[in-house]
């Protein structure tokens, strides 16, 4: 899709590479150098033989044989290795859908359980990225379809919770990815009747269910919703899947649910195509072999004329339009003065085309070099390629060629309705459709003292953490142990904030801090979790993910509206949390031991004080500062009792004020100097001391 392509151009993509792969790569590079040295040596031998007019011995042939063998093996190893490096777990892609599915479930007010199977299936990274759009579509269909009203579900004997399963299976030559719902299934007959009524198929015409459902426009007919609502945009899904050579199939049973499966051939090579090479006039072409049904010689007189200039042949009982490759490209004709014409029968998804060429050159493995986008008007040509011997050829986009020649359809409009998918991708950076369209004002590239590998480490750690954080949050709505999960989420967030701080992105650190405060309130039950609050948390995590994904090329600023929403949540509970909420109205917990200590202190001429300390809010938690400050007081005297109690402080239950009962061998005035020396180091903002002169057990 154009939009995706544009974005790919802007954002360099990254992927993690396992160290062992790098090591192998390095050792292959070493082998290339050795082979190259052998060939250099050989060149010298040949040079010297030519100069001296000598003949070369059999050892020269050995060198060439060995070098040639090495080159072949290294190329194969290199290629296999690169393909292996490109493999990623499909689970990373699967996880992207949690948020959209959750949001949709919320919109529909349904309970939906999204189940992943085969998440560890390895697929090519490029494929993983291109799967996002079609899968999103299928998932939405499944949710829509499975999520018939609870009453209907009950009537159909289905459980209230809709289970949608996203499954990946690794086959020998293909990967199967399917989406299953446990809705009521598709009524095959009803769909056929509908298709017949709407003129999509002839009465009793045999036609696969998937073909009916994939007929463009079929689903938009209002009647479709009556039969199950299936088919929304399925034609687009099939279109997208076919772009990477995949096929779509559907299996459904009334009352049991529906499974839509994508079968995608494993990419054997990146941009390497098995091609049939041929010439047309003076030009060389490469056609992808999997699109060629046959190559044959056709006598000129077997070409028939239909209306006006349109021509066709009968191939295996079927009428197939025929045209001249050079004519299509406006470059003349291949046919001049020949009676037997070389023809390839091309097969696209819905049509065949016979193409007249000048000469077949044979099959070959070629590297396709795609055109830059500004060449995209060259419709039927996918790119260029270098033929054996260094000649330049053109690779043909068979689908585009057939569409253009037969004028099958206008420009394909892919208007995916992805309004519900506002979550940005966690790890995949170029999927436009999942990203929100909000525009943060992009700033300059990241500047940091850290080395680029450190930054990359940090970013990949952050991506992982953010996606884990989102998972935890999404799990909260169904979890039994929310307390543990919230703590876990809090810990993750804290680490993420730490990383933004390392990158010195202060505005984002502040944003994360607000989010952390809100999470803290949820943890301490000062805020109650509601779906709206969950939306806010998820939106905030999505935003942080967007910020991370844009790094290090762009440093995004905070999003004001979201930040404001967080702030509002931060402010509400603060009114209830007076700094000395835990102190007011409470007396020191006086044990006989403490009373004894007080008496002893007084007898030794020491002074007993009651001091009220307040602290500035700082980077260290209140309880920690309070605890450390008490340790410091302990070095100046003896701490007898505190409010909140030591036990409470140790549990983290402490605001920004404490009251301390303590004794020292100095007077208040003498202590003042030491207190004021240390106070700034502990963020003590004020203190008030009263000397206690009465003995315990007596009243004033």
């Amino acid at each position: 899709m154009t939009e995706t392509m544009q974005l790919q151009g802007r954002t360099p993509q990254k992927m993690q590479v396992r160290l062992e792969h790098m090591d192998k790569l390095l050792s292959l590079a070493g082998e290339v150098i050795i082979t190259s040295a052998n060939l250099q040596d050989m060149e010298r031998r040949v040079q010297s033989a030519v100069t001296r007019r000598q003949t070369l011995g059999p050892e020269s042939l050995d060198i060439i044989k060995t070098s040639n063998e090495s080159t072949r093996r290294i190329s194969q190893d290199l290629h296999d290795l690169v393909m292996a490096i490109r493999l990623v777990e499909i689970g990373d892609t699967m996880r992207l859908f949690k948020r959209p599915v959750r949001d949709l479930a919320r919109t529909l007010e349904k309970e939906i359980s999204l189940v992943f199977e085969g998440a560890d299936t390895m697929i090519d990274k490029a494929l993983a990225e291109r799967l996002v759009d079609p899968l999103l579509h299928l998932l939405r269909n499944a949710v829509d379809h499975g999520a018939i009203s609870p009453i209907e579900r009950a009537a159909a004997g289905l459980p209230q919770t809709v289970t949608v399963t996203l499954r990946a299976v690794n086959l020998e030559h293909a990967v199967e990815i399917s989406v299953t719902d446990d809705g009521r299934g598709i009524d095959d007959e009803a769909i056929r009747r509908l298709a017949e009524q709407s003129g999509i198929i002839e009465i009793d015409q045999p036609c696969a269910l998937i073909d009916i459902l994939c007929t463009p426009g079929f689903s938009t007919r209002t009647a479709a919703t009556q039969t199950s609502g299936r088919g929304v945009g399925l034609d687009l899904v099939r279109e997208m899947v076919s772009e990477f050579g995949g096929e779509l199939s559907i299996e459904s049973a009334v009352g049991q649910g529906t499974t839509v499966t994508m079968t995608i051939p494993k990419l054997r090579a990146v941009n390497i195509i098995d091609a049939l090479t041929l010439s047309a006039g003076h030009l060389l072409f490469a056609l992808p072999i999997h699109r060629i049904e046959a190559s044959l010689g056709i006598p000129r007189n077997s070409i028939r004329n239909a209306f006006q200039k349109e021509r066709y042949i009968v191939y295996q009982g079927e009428t197939v339009p025929i045209c001249d490759l050079l004519e299509v490209l406006g470059e003349g004709t291949c046919e001049a003065g020949r009676d037997l014409l070389p023809v390839v029968i091309l097969q696209s998804r819905d049509a065949k085309l016979a193409l007249i060429v000048s000469e077949f050159l044979g099959p070959q493995k070629l590297v396709n070099i795609p055109f830059e986008e500004n060449m995209s008007h060259a419709q039927a040509i996918a790119g260029t390629t270098v033929f054996t011997g260094g000649k330049l050829g053109l690779t043909v986009d068979v689908d585009a060629l057939i569409d253009a020649t037969l004028n099958l359809r206008g420009p394909v409009e892919k208007t995916l309705d992805l309004a519900f998918a506002s979550a940005p991708p966690a790890n995949i950076s170029n999927t436009v459709s999942l990203a929100s369209s909000r525009s943060e004002s992009p700033q300059e590239a990241l500047t940091t003292e850290l080395g680029s590998s450190d930054v990359n480490d940090l970013l990949s750690e952050m991506s992982t953490s953010l996606s884990a954080l989102q998972d935890i949050l999404l799990g909260l709505e169904t979890s039994d142990n929310t307390h543990r999960d919230i703590k876990d989420a809090f810990r993750r967030l804290h680490g993420i904030k730490a990383n933004f701080s390392m990158l010195e992105m202060d505005p984002i650190v502040n944003f994360a801090h607000r989010l952390e405060t809100v999470m803290d309130y949820i943890r301490s039950e000062r805020l109650t979790m509601t779906p709206d609050l969950m939306d806010l948390l998820l939106d905030s995590v999505s935003f942080l993910t967007r910020v991370t994904d844009a790094l290090p090329q762009k440093v995004l600023g905070p999003e004001e509206e979201l930040s404001e929403r967080l702030l509002q949540r931060c402010e509400v509970p603060q009114e209830n949390t007076l700094c000395d909420r835990d102190i007011i109205g409470r007396a020191f917990d006086m044990t006989p031991e403490i009373e004894l200590q007080m008496v002893t202190a007084r007898k030794r001429g020491h002074h007993v004080f009651e001091t009220y300390f307040t602290f500035h809010p700082g980077r260290q938690a209140d309880y920690l500062v309070a605890y450390l400050w008490l340790c410091r007081l302990g070095a100046m005297g003896t701490v007898l009792s505190t409010l909140p109690s030591i036990a409470e402080i140790e549990q983290g239950q402490c605001g920004n004020a404490i009251k301390v009962l303590w004794s020292a061998d100095k007077t208040e005035k003498a202590l003042k100097e030491r207190l004021e020396e240390h106070a700034p180091l502990y963020d003590v903002s004020s203190y008030q001391t009263v000397e206690i002169t009465r003995l315990p057990g007596t009243t004033d």
């Binding site: 450190d454 804290h494 700082g618 260290q620 004021e676 180091l681 502990y682 903002s685 004020s686």
Partner: protein, 138 residues
């Protein structure tokens, strides 16, 4: 009210000559932390985990003015290092500062009870770092 101006007045260069050990299993954290400390004129000996730290301290017990250590580390974690150091007769009261993203009160207090003198949450904040160094040396 407490006057904090004295604190901000003498921030830079006042730690020249200090030598600290920094134990953290994350290379990135070590580098960042080291850079922050070096800005303050402090010499840093990095350690990859608790065991590494322990052997480096054991080799020169008097060398370090402060030990900074992460709580979560492979092989020997921060708690264990704290406990080991405080049980060692040759280790004489060098302040230990825990450094962690952990913000759970019980975990932090546990570290303090095991002999740590202070605690710095990650991410590092320069001002807090200065405060903490001053605190543990006061």
């Amino acid at each position: 009210m407490i006057d904090t101006s004295a604190l901000t007045g003498e921030m830079d260069g006042s730690f020249n000559g200090l030598h600290v050990l920094m134990a953290d299993d994350s290379t990135t954290t070590r580098r960042v932390f080291q850079a922050r400390l070096e800005e303050l004129g402090i010499t840093v000996t990095p350690a990859e985990d608790g065991e590494d730290a322990l052997s480096k301290i054991e080799a020169h017990p008097q060398k370090f003015d402060i030990i900074f250590c992460d709580i979560q580390m492979p092989r020997m974690n921060g708690y264990e290092l704290c406990r080991k150091l405080n049980e060692s007769p040759w280790f004489e009261g060098t302040p230990i500062v825990m450094v962690s993203t952990c913000s759970d009160a019980r975990e932090v207090i546990k570290a303090l009870k095991l002999g740590a003198d202070d605690f710095i949450p990650k991410p590092f904040e320069r001002d807090l770092l200065i405060k903490v160094i001053k605190r543990v040396r006061a």
